[in-house]
């Protein structure tokens, strides 16, 4: 597109300049080199409840504090897969995905997190939360808890009861024990 500004012709090119592309290719190469380097380090195998085996690299494993402490305390034979009876293969692959993105995706992590959440229904969210708690992955656990909070914030008691599957048995209790804040703090 040719536009005229201040009497001079300025050529606007929609595509990215060539050097930017070159830089991206270079970055990609660097990333691939890093990945190759990491592949040489010994991976650890994890076995899920449905008998699927995953090979996980140490940098991801580091996030799973529970597995890490298992490896550290008992001299585990790395040729044998570590059993994780509480985790399904579907959840483990999600967890590995999340941990990977959390470490390597510095630019659009938020975008990934949004996509990640969208792909889960409430039930899957709960399962994943329990899995994250079991494996003791702080980043994922905090992220999921925070997402839960977003879901229930400003919702009616009925919605929350439904959400957590709570049976309402409190009609008699309500008047007996008043909460510390009786809705007196102004909501913005």
């Amino acid at each position: 597109m040719v536009i005229t500004a201040k009497g001079k012709e300025i050529l606007e090119i929609a595509e990215e300049p060539e050097y930017v592309m070159l830089a991206k290719v270079e970055d990609l190469k660097m990333d691939m080199l890093r990945i190759v380097e990491e592949e040489e380090i010994k991976k650890i195998r994890l076995k899920t409840s449905d008998e699927a085996t995953f090979e996980v690299e140490p940098s991801i494993l580091k996030e799973m504090k529970r597995v890490q402490s298992l490896i550290n305390t008992e001299a585990i034979d790395t040729s044998v897969a570590i059993p994780l009876p509480n985790i399904t293969s579907r959840n483990l692959s999600r967890i590995i995905d999340f941990c990977w993105e959390h470490q390597y995706n510095t630019e659009n992590l938020e975008e990934f997190k949004g996509r990640f959440l969208k792909s889960l229904n409430h039930q899957e969210l709960k399962e994943l939360l329990l899995a994250a708690n079991y494996l003791n992955i702080k980043t994922l656990f905090d992220f999921l808890c925070n997402s839960f909070t977003d879901l229930i914030q400003n919702e009616s008691p009925e919605f929350i009861r439904d959400f957590f599957n709570i049976l309402n048995d409190t009609n008699s209790v309500k008047s007996m024990h008043a909460p510390a804040f009786q809705g007196s703090i102004d909501d913005d």
């Binding site: 839960f148 929350i160 599957n165 049976l167 409190t170 510390a180 809705g183 007196s184």
Partner: protein, 357 residues
């Protein structure tokens, strides 16, 4: 507790108490407290929530907070969040709450104080030596000045966000006292009077990439290094000689529209020249200038080629210059080792401009 819950088909509907408490800890305390109405199991659950989260704007709030604190059943406070619109009322209580949070092994502390409070604000000194603190976010209005004690020691601190009336000198105390820092964001507000506007962002990624961005009203500077040289200390101390294996990028804003005087123009570019001189040892440089030189053509005489430093190590240069009159077009001639130069095609008026390679 409830038979119906236990016999339900949905085996994980009943999350363990600790997890529920952790979820509730992200809610404002008044909302987490309100969950006591949900069921008999939830009646006392809020007392175990490991967080304090208050948004207050009336003086009555403080009595409720005290009430709330006395009813809580756990000393643990992982997260402390205070958003106060009227710090005049709040100040006497803040010390007490913060000290409770520190005793409760606080990991995340967010504090937003707005409105005017014309006095220096001093936290209890133990906050600056809190070993559990991982995230600290202080956002004070312009008139609240924060006193920082001479020694800061926050061994676990990873994220620091300071948007308050704090000088760079105070920020340095935080930076040097927090060895595990991964992300620091520091904003110096211009309305503090003598302090110029400045936004400093430091990122140390676990992969060993260190990035610093320094933005003020004149230009934005980004320096990145991925070979493990932690240049931040040198930067804060003004020691730029060692900057060789770094990627630097400078963007000069179009300040002409904002400041219409020629004097301003000169001041801006003197600053840019000094910045370029500081970065003269780098190997990679990206330079963008969005100011219009044509308007102040007579300044060409004041800024001569010799004022530009010689870039001894520079091998790759990237230019994006709006105005064809700009002196920065001569940058390639100041780089004896230059191997690759590129221009952003957006300002293509200079198509004939020879770029030396």
């Amino acid at each position: 507790m409830s038979k119906i819950e236990d016999s339900g088909v949905d085996r994980i509907s009943k999350l363990p108490d600790e997890i529920v408490c952790h979820i509730l800890s992200f809610l404002p305390s008044n909302e987490s407290t309100a969950t006591c109405l949900l069921s008999s199991r939830w009646r006392f659950l809020w007392r175990m929530v490991p967080s304090l989260h208050f948004d207050c704007n009336t003086s009555e709030t403080y009595d409720h907070v005290d009430n709330f604190l006395s009813l809580r059943a756990t000393p643990i406070i992982t997260r402390f969040h205070l958003n106060c619109k009227n710090p005049c009322f709040c100040i006497p209580y803040i010390q007490k709450w913060v000290s409770k949070a520190i005793h409760g092994k606080v990991e995340q502390l967010n504090m937003f104080l707005c409105e005017t409070y014309h006095q220096g604000f001093m936290f209890i000194p133990t906050l600056f030596t809190c070993t559990t603190l991982v995230t600290l976010n202080l956002n004070f209005s312009d008139s609240v000045y924060l006193h920082v004690p001479p020694s800061v020691h926050l061994p676990s601190l990873k994220t620091l966000q300071l948007d308050s009336c704090l000088s760079l000198y105070d920020f340095k105390k935080f930076f040097y006292g927090s060895p595990s820092l991964e992300l620091a964001h520091f904003k110096q507000s211009p309305r503090c009077g003598f302090l110029p506007e400045l936004v400093l962002k430091i990122v140390r990624s676990p992969r060993g990439i260190i990035q610093l961005s320094h933005a003020n009203e004149i230009c934005a500077i980004v320096i990145e290094c991925d070979d493990g040289y932690d240049f931040i200390r040198d930067y804060l101390e003004g020691d730029f000689e060692k900057y060789v294996k770094v990627k630097a990028s400078i963007v000069v804003h179009d300040t002409n529209s904002k400041f219409k005087s020629k004097f301003r123009f000169k001041y801006v570019h003197e600053y840019v020249f000094v910045t370029l001189k500081r970065l003269r040892n780098v190997e990679l440089l990206s330079f963008s200038d969005f100011s219009s030189w044509t308007k102040y053509a007579d300044y060409d005489e004041e800024f001569t080629l010799d004022d530009l430093p010689i870039f001894q190590n520079l091998v790759k240069l990237q230019l994006d210059i709006k105005d064809y009159d700009s002196i920065y077009w001569t940058l390639p001639t100041r780089c004896p080792k230059l191997r690759a130069a590129a221009r952003d095609n957006r300002s293509d008026v200079n198509k004939d401009m020879k770029i030396s390679c």
